[in-house]
């Protein structure tokens, strides 16, 4: 009887798990002992980090996408058929088309999504770049921007935690290049009492902001936005006027996680070293979907996926665990349109950002292309 591995979600994490398993389980897949199935919501694979560049004209829309069938190893059974229920008691998932898939192991890779509609006035009054439509609208708004007060507003929780700083630095360069630097003011708001959740990153960013004249307000958690008056108000009682509002909307996990009663907010309680769902022995959770208190970022998903690939392959072939996830995260940080730095950290090692350079920025631009090798499990 074949072992069925079902992967719910065809984003970065689900794709890396599927392709990585194919590389390690080639022999049992050939003999029919292992079957790998991916259930996704779309046949289009989006390189999400590229959305940061779109509003500034630094990335073409066509470069953001690939055909998901072609990104996945041909040995994977892939269905565009979103999952509507994950039944961890009976080891099966049900899809919107009415199909049921039994599994021996399931990997939940349903990701996170922006929820601007949960903040009054945000959909009407704010721009964002965390989805294609939002990035397009922000690109148009910046194209027609003639100077004024730009508020960059950060909400909790959100993925890609360095993107808010990146968009500030890139915006500063963008406005300067267009001759709007003297006619504009950038004000950045952040939910806690410093400029970034990572203390060393906050300590690095503050003098950079001061050097460029970028203003900031901390302890700012958005309560509501008034699109008519063009103001944003915080739970802490502050109201700020804006001409252009760029927000990082709050996120939740996938609806199917909540509907399956697997976790509040769409986040699945997950053991931080094994990446198993708490209380399960055959339910892995990867990427933004976990409730592990670490960054929701592409690199987190990638390193978690690599761990799951090693462990699942080892469990299937050898009946034992291969290794633990150490909490590794690696993030490039664009510090303008022509410079960048990076940070890495894990559960025991804090981050330590180095000085920005053009070389690291170029490396990031190269990775924007190399990503498709990562997704295929080659890098």
């Amino acid at each position: 009887m074949a072992k069925n591995i079902v992967i719910v979600g065809g984003g970065l994490a689900g794709t890396i798990v599927a392709n990585g398993l194919c590389r390690q389980l080639g022999e049992p897949m050939r003999s029919g002992e292992v079957v790998i199935t991916v259930l996704g919501a779309t046949n289009t694979h989006l390189y999400q980090p590229g959305l940061l560049y779109l509003p500034f004209g630094r990335f073409r829309e066509t470069d953001l996408f690939r055909n998901q069938r072609k990104v996945l190893d041909r040995r994977v059974n892939f269905y565009v058929d979103p999952v509507k229920n994950i039944d961890v008691e009976n080891n099966k998932v049900a899809t919107e088309s009415g199909k049921t898939f039994d599994y021996d192991y399931v990997v939940i890779a349903t990701g996170s999504r922006i929820r601007p509609e949960t903040v009054p006035g945000m959909e009407e009054g704010a721009h964002w770049f965390y989805d294609l439509d939002g990035a397009r609208k922000l690109r148009d708004a910046l194209c027609h921007f003639e100077g004024g007060k730009v508020v960059v507003n950060v909400n909790v929780p959100h993925k890609c935690p360095v993107a808010p700083l990146e968009v500030v630095f890139m915006l500063y360069d963008f406005l300067a290049e267009r001759g709007l630097g003297d006619k504009s003011e950038i004000l950045y708001t952040y939910p806690i009492g410093r400029l970034h959740s990572l203390e060393p990153v906050a300590a690095w960013a503050k003098p950079e902001f001061d050097k460029y004249g970028i203003k900031y307000e901390t302890f700012f958690n958005t309560k509501e936005i008034d699109p008519e008056a063009k103001t944003i108000t915080s739970e802490e009682g502050s109201t700020l006027p804006y001409d252009l509002l760029i927000t990082i909307p709050p996120h939740t996990g996938a609806q199917v996680v909540e509907d399956s009663d697997l976790g509040a907010g769409g986040w699945v309680p997950t053991e931080r070293e094994t990446l198993l769902r708490e209380g399960s022995t055959n339910v892995f959770v990867v990427g933004d979907t976990t409730n592990i208190p670490i960054s929701k970022a592409g690199s987190t998903a990638h390193f978690e996926a690599d761990t799951i690939v090693d462990n699942l392959a080892s469990l299937v072939m050898e009946g034992c665990w291969a290794r633990q996830y150490d909490g590794k995260v690696f993030c490039f940080v664009e510090t303008g349109l022509n410079s960048g730095t990076y940070i890495w950290f894990n559960y025991t090692t804090p981050p330590n950002p180095g000085p920005p350079s053009q070389m690291i920025h170029w490396f990031k631009l190269a990775y924007n292309r190399l990503y498709w090798l990562s997704a295929r499990g080659l890098l």
């Binding site: 909790v156 935690p161 939910p191 009492g193 959740s197 203390e199 739970e235 709050p250 907010g265 670490i294």
Partner: protein, 76 residues
């Protein structure tokens, strides 16, 4: 007494205990509590400061072996 949800943010550099608390408060009802475990020594100061600023309630701080247990009640 409301329900209490625990967030084990020990060793969490990013997003960190306070960000986890803010996110967690969005998922509970008024009157319910979040208990944050934090190994960041700044949390015992940062969290009460934010809680006072935004209008929730502190329900307790306990210093444990290697971490602090900080309980916050959602007030609005």
């Amino acid at each position: 007494m409301g329900k209490r949800t625990k967030i084990d943010a020990r060793g969490a550099f990013c997003p960190g205990p306070l960000m986890e608390l803010i996110a967690g408060l969005k998922l509970i009802e008024v009157g319910d509590e979040i208990e944050v475990w934090s190994s960041d020594t700044g949390s015992a100061k940062d969290i009460p400061e934010w809680v006072a600023k935004v209008g929730h309630e502190m329900a307790g701080v306990e210093h444990c072996e290697g971490y602090d247990s900080i309980v916050v009640r959602k007030a609005k």
